[in-house]
């Protein structure tokens, strides 16, 4: 038997959630806290709004939680800090080992889909972390949603470790452990409740607003050119555009996700149509009240562009949802994208034409 060696490139001890290190037969292992600090919570809010989301990581490798002994369970997780934090939080008051895979900072499910939370990475991490020398058993608990990337039978064949798939949600992990590693059918099913749809909204809003600002800048420049340098006129058109874009974005990335189960249609583009029409009606009412440029082509342009934008943004929510398939998305896009492009082109043409017909 080889002499005990420390894990290869072990996780750094100066990460904020590391409280110390415990000595094991396979070298020192960083110990993590199971309570989240204000800083952890702020960090998760920040990434929910899309800021620094691609670099919210923890070091891959083996960690200890509580005061684990060699016979305590091993949990495998992704190195997206949001996933890791959720896991250590639900393990409060328990002892165990956490093996963090290098998923390039991506959450468990998406990383499994991409293959970074996969058989190869798991087998390599098992060997580089020295886990075999540290624990006395040969069982790994993986999140069920990692199954698209991990072939359990292959892991067993090549590493000797048996893979047990835990529940879909980390919050069910305590019940799963207390039931002797048994999950109820409900724990094995991915749902998409309103709360979960709601937390996905901020990142979509931020991303849409960022693009919206670019569009407004372009429209302002176009307005400036087409109105022969009239700053006031260009500003007025840009303001109208801003109101319209806000309505379109609200319809597509806020109303559609929240009302998803009740909106008519199966495809997301269709689901985004009704909120888009509602947005256009609201635009119509706002403009009528102000009495500004009502009845002009510019106005009709936005009545067309708001629903087009809404259905496009709704279609893009397929990636955030948990019940769409690639085949379905491709089928939807085959008819939806041409219609969206046609709607947007007609709208843009009307908008441009409006500068020549007063």
């Amino acid at each position: 038997m080889p002499a005990p060696t420390a894990q290869v490139s072990p996780p750094r001890l100066d990460q904020t959630f590391v409280t110390g290190a415990i000595q094991t037969s396979g070298g020192p292992v960083p110990c993590v806290s199971s309570s989240l600090t204000g800083r952890d919570v702020l960090g998760s809010v920040r990434v929910r709004f899309g800021f620094g989301r691609m670099h919210y990581t923890v070091d891959p490798g083996l960690y200890a939680i509580g005061n684990p002994r060699p016979d305590d369970p091993v949990f495998v997780s992704a190195n997206y800090k949001l996933s890791f934090d959720k896991l250590r939080e639900v393990l409060q008051g328990r002892n165990g080992w956490i093996l963090v895979l290098d998923t390039k900072g991506i959450n468990v499910w998406c990383a499994a889909g991409k293959g970074t939370f996969g058989t190869e990475e798991l087998i390599q991490r098992l060997s580089s972390s020295n886990l075999g020398q540290i624990v006395s058993h040969r069982t790994l608990i993986l999140p069920q949603l990692s199954a698209p990337g991990v072939a359990a039978f292959e892991v067993t064949k090549r590493s000797g470790f048996k893979v047990v798939y835990g529940p879909v949600e980390a919050s069910d992990l305590p019940s799963f452990l207390d039931a002797g590693l048994q999950a109820t059918p409900a724990m094995r099913t991915k749902t998409f409740p309103a709360v979960e749809r709601l937390v996905l909204v901020p990142v979509e809003v931020v991303s849409a607003v960022e693009k919206g600002i670019v569009v407004l800048a372009l429209l302002f420049l176009a307005g400036l050119l087409l109105s022969k340098g009239s700053f006031d006129e260009a500003l007025h058109h840009t303001y109208t555009a801003m109101v319209a874009l806000i309505l379109g974005i609200a319809a597509g990335v806020l109303c559609t996700p929240l009302l998803l189960p009740w909106l008519p249609g199966r495809s997301f583009s269709m689901k985004g149509l009704l909120p888009g029409i509602a947005g256009a009606v609201l635009f119509f009412l706002i403009q009528t009240n102000e009495g500004a440029r009502n009845g002009t082509l510019e106005f009709y342009a936005w009545l067309l562009l708001i629903p087009a934008l809404s259905t496009y943004l709704a279609m893009n929510f397929t990636g955030s949802s948990t019940f769409t398939s690639l085949s379905g998305v491709k089928k939807e896009m085959r008819w939806a994208v041409p219609l969206q492009v046609a709607g947007a082109s007609c709208g843009l043409a009307l908008w441009l034409t409006s500068f020549f017909i007063h």
């Binding site: 991409k114 359990a152 199966r266 990636g319 089928k331």
Partner: protein, 103 residues
Amino acid sequence: MKTLIYLPDVVTLALAPHKCTGCGTCLLVCPRAVLTMPNGAVEISNRDACIECGACQRNCPFGAITVKAGVGCAAAVINSFLGRKSACCTLPSDDPSCGPGCC
């Protein structure tokens, strides 16, 4: 709450019943309760709930269940169509080493 279902009759999930040994692993990993095992062999009983995540295929030691796995993400389809290899979300089949980020 009731399960949300996407488009009907569209997924590529397929079963080769003669290869199935009834081990039940696919039932365990499916997050959408698509499969059942009423008589010792797996059956597809809720096809339209399938999201083509590929968990069943990946974990079947006998190749009894197959699906063209992928992510149901319009942005990924658009990015792949436009050839944006470094974009945050692409179809994994196009480039397994593509940059960080998705969803």
